[in-house]
Symmetry: D2
Subunit: 116 residues, 4 copies
């Protein structure tokens, strides 16, 4: 989806993607599946920043609430580790749509990630 | 994502998509976001089959459990209405990967959909 | 909560509890927390029927949709294993309220359970 | 469960309950269902602080991640409105166990609440 890493810190990753018609519905809003992909990736990378060397991370499950129509020039998912674990890590991501200077929250995702 | 309607009945919709490298990770598995998109769409269409004429449906939230690596020639999401409502409809989708004759369950999604 | 095991089979457990005012809200409906407890326990026991000897099970997370007011003489949660695993097992529970002969679905729960 | 309102502000409610053996498992930990009840109530009250006069609130669904064993003298659920709405409000609750001066996060819940 052409997302790029906008910020990285221990337990925190921001992923950004530009508006692209191919990921939008007929009304110009980002598709829920694309919003979920972005948030899932941000949470996965956030978990990975705290995972031991030589391990990999994989989403076990996630739940997303879609808060508002996803309309903007670009979209940012901010993934944060809520609780790191040896086997399972829990992450929370907030997704915003950015239109010029204005940010609108469009989704929140709570994820369970396994470290392998 | 090139999904097609494989089956439709009141409260039941099957969506099918063929394997496409662009929706897969580096290991050839369908990306979790693509699996979620397919299941979300199947649940949305299933809800729509029972919605009153002139209304539209929109996902409020969903939760997906990823059950197994998503590897196959094609993928089918079977969306089913669990409880239809005037305002909110609850749907459950099972997603399978199909490899020749063999079906492997890869995900289960529980969704809340608003009728507007 | 005085729940009893009503049925057990590999990967399947039904738990039943009688109406008790102490678990109900002021309007006589079973509290969402009590409904969740019953479903969570049914899913945990269902997972346990397939867990290796000497292991224990613990809920990692669950999501519940409340489908209808929980009014009845008794309540049954039917927990089913969707996918058994060595580390994680996924279960789905349907909860019904029973009023005389009539069953009303009141909740659906999707759970992730860890085997330890 | 004997919970009391510990703090209230627009969109924010803290509920507190003391340790009680009757809500605990055989190992002395608060039962997942009791943790879920506390968090569900905190989110419901938080949504209610922003709901129009004359309306009522009801949980449509919630998802909870259990982060750590729930052991303590008392338990606090902090419910916060993430997005208020006319029909649906989304809330997030953090639950901690308090043991003397020390707080341990034990659960996070993401809820969808309907205003009626």
């Amino acid at each position: 989806m052409g997302a790029r890493l906008a910020r990285i810190a221990p337990g925190e990753v921001d992923l950004e993607m530009m508006y692209a018609a191919s990921f939008c519905q007929q009304n110009g809003y980002l598709h829920a599946g694309a919003t979920a992909s972005l948030a899932d990736s941000a949470n996965g990378y956030a978990a990975f920043t705290l995972a031991p060397a030589g391990t990999d991370v994989l989403a076990v499950e996630f739940k997303i609430n879609l808060l508002a129509p996803a309309r903007g020039d670009r979209f940012i998912a901010r993934g944060r580790v809520v609780r790191p674990g040896r086997t399972l890590t829990v992450c929370l991501a907030d997704v915003v749509a950015v239109d010029g200077d204005r940010e609108t929250p469009i989704a929140t995702m709570l994820s369970t990630i396994i470290i392998r």
